[in-house]
């Protein structure tokens, strides 16, 4: 049998719809991860020891339990407590919670790398703690950690393929259907592998451009 990827041509529209769903889920999960990550990072760098410990425990748990177990926990568990939400929402929530644990590590090191003089100056200027965090600490921390946050995003894209196990027909889920329809699983999955690699490659190029743009004032210091 010859390798013939052209059998995929009639199914491109269907796969495109799946890819769109993957992009949507990843975009929402990225926002969710950043929100969760910023919150956890704030707790991990706070002055309260209890808050620091709780946040560290969160990161420890969600980094050391496989994502598929977390996903099943939410997908099968939430209806049990009367929350009936669809697979897409469950997937985005699970991705945000797990991604948030990874993002918080990145944002935390971004916060710790901030020159303390900047914070002293803000305090002397009479800014409130909330304003200092949202207007000074967070923007600086997010800007310097564009590149590591980019690897969190790439991991989110790869991890989102696991959402196909909870009946969500994103890119991998659609490919499974196409493979069953055409009886050509080798072509379908080989092409899918290359699509994912190309997608993450494109994202990493975009991240590098964004990183350079955001840190252009540093003049190559953070090359």
């Amino acid at each position: 049998m010859l390798f013939d990827p052209s059998i995929l041509v009639p199914h491109l529209g269907f796969l495109g719809a799946g890819a769109l769903l993957t992009v949507e889920a990843c975009a929402l999960a990225l926002l969710g991860s950043l929100a969760v990550g910023a919150g956890i990072a704030m707790a991990r760098t706070s002055a309260s020891a209890a808050l620091r410990k709780a946040a560290a425990a969160y990161v420890d748990i969600f980094r050391n339990v496989p994502f598929i177990v977390q996903l099943f926990f939410f997908y099968y568990g939430l209806p049990e407590i009367g929350l009936y939400i669809d697979a897409f929402t469950t997937g985005v929530i699970a991705l945000s919670i797990a991604g948030g644990a990874f993002a918080s590590d990145v944002i935390r090191s971004g916060i710790l790398a901030i020159d303390t003089g900047v914070i002293d100056a803000a305090q002397v200027s009479g800014l409130s703690r909330r304003v200092i965090f949202t207007k000074i600490v967070l923007p600086i921390a997010l800007r310097t950690s564009v590149r590591p946050l980019g690897s969190v995003l790439i991991n989110l894209i790869l991890t989102s393929s696991i959402l196909s196990t909870i009946t969500l027909n994103e890119l991998t889920g659609s490919a499974k259907i196409v493979a069953a329809d055409t009886f050509r699983p080798f072509e379908v999955y080989a092409v899918l592998l290359v699509i994912y690699a190309a997608l993450t490659y494109a994202v990493s190029i975009a991240i590098n451009l964004l990183h350079r743009r955001q840190n252009r004032h540093l003049g190559g210091e953070v090359a």
Binding site: Q70, F73, P185, F186
Partner: protein
């Protein structure tokens, strides 16, 4: 008639699943370590034709979802090459390849971390190429690589949970079976998550002890 309560036998099932997960993790980590190291050594000697192929394959494996790689091996290979592939064989092949791709990166960095002057000095002193690799490069590269390797191993343990999707009776699959029978998702997935968590901590702890031994030569001994 469905027997929905938990029984003592369920603990045996969970232990069995954990054994399968840990066993496959150990086997594929060892194979992956060997394969990834061989790839890095091939790169080190700059074997023509092979080096760019290895770099490309490693990049492809690192930047695509493990789930898609599993589907390609389990569904694609039998259809295309007319082979019989059992779920366990597919899991071993896929996880070995995936682990090797990540180990390749660590091993390349570890080999590059050793100064050329050391290798030149060793060659001038009359050591053979094999002796240089065995006596000069390997011990120092191992001490350099052990830190990143521990993080990688903890991550690869979680990746093994994906083989449940192609029907390997690992810990996650046992969790899915118990979940369907008892319909108590919170208890089942918490127990499964806890077992993964403890296994991850065990691997991290063993790795830490190994790291201390490998870097004993450079440890601070006091004055």
């Amino acid at each position: 008639m469905r027997y929905a309560d938990f029984t003592w036998y369920d603990l045996v099932l969970l232990a069995q699943g954990l054994g399968v997960s840990l066993g496959l993790f150990a086997v594929t980590s060892l194979f992956g370590l060997a394969l990834g190291t061989v790839w890095a050594v091939i790169r080190y000697y700059g074997v023509p034709a092979l080096t760019p192929v290895i770099a490309f394959v490693a990049e492809l494996l690192k930047n695509s979802p493990v789930l898609v790689q599993l589907f390609l091996v389990f569904f694609g290979f039998p259809a295309f090459f007319k082979l019989n592939v059992t779920p366990v064989e597919a899991a071993i092949v896929t996880l070995t390849g995936n682990t090797a791709a990540f180990i390749y990166v660590v091993a390349v960095a570890a080999i590059d971390s050793i100064g050329r002057d050391q290798i030149e000095a060793a060659r001038v002193s009359g050591l053979t190429r094999w002796q240089v690799l065995r006596r000069i490069i390997a011990p120092q590269a191992a001490a350099f690589a052990i830190g990143p390797l521990i993080g990688l191993m903890v991550n690869q343990l979680q990746v093994t949970s994906l083989i449940s999707v192609i029907g390997v009776m690992d810990l996650t699959k046992i969790g899915a079976i118990l979940n369907l029978r008892t319909l108590k998702p919170f208890i089942v997935w918490t127990a499964v998550g806890l077992l993964y968590y403890l296994a991850a901590k065990l691997i991290a702890g063993l790795g830490w002890r190994l790291e201390r031994r490998l870097s004993a030569h450079s440890a601070w001994r006091g004055l």
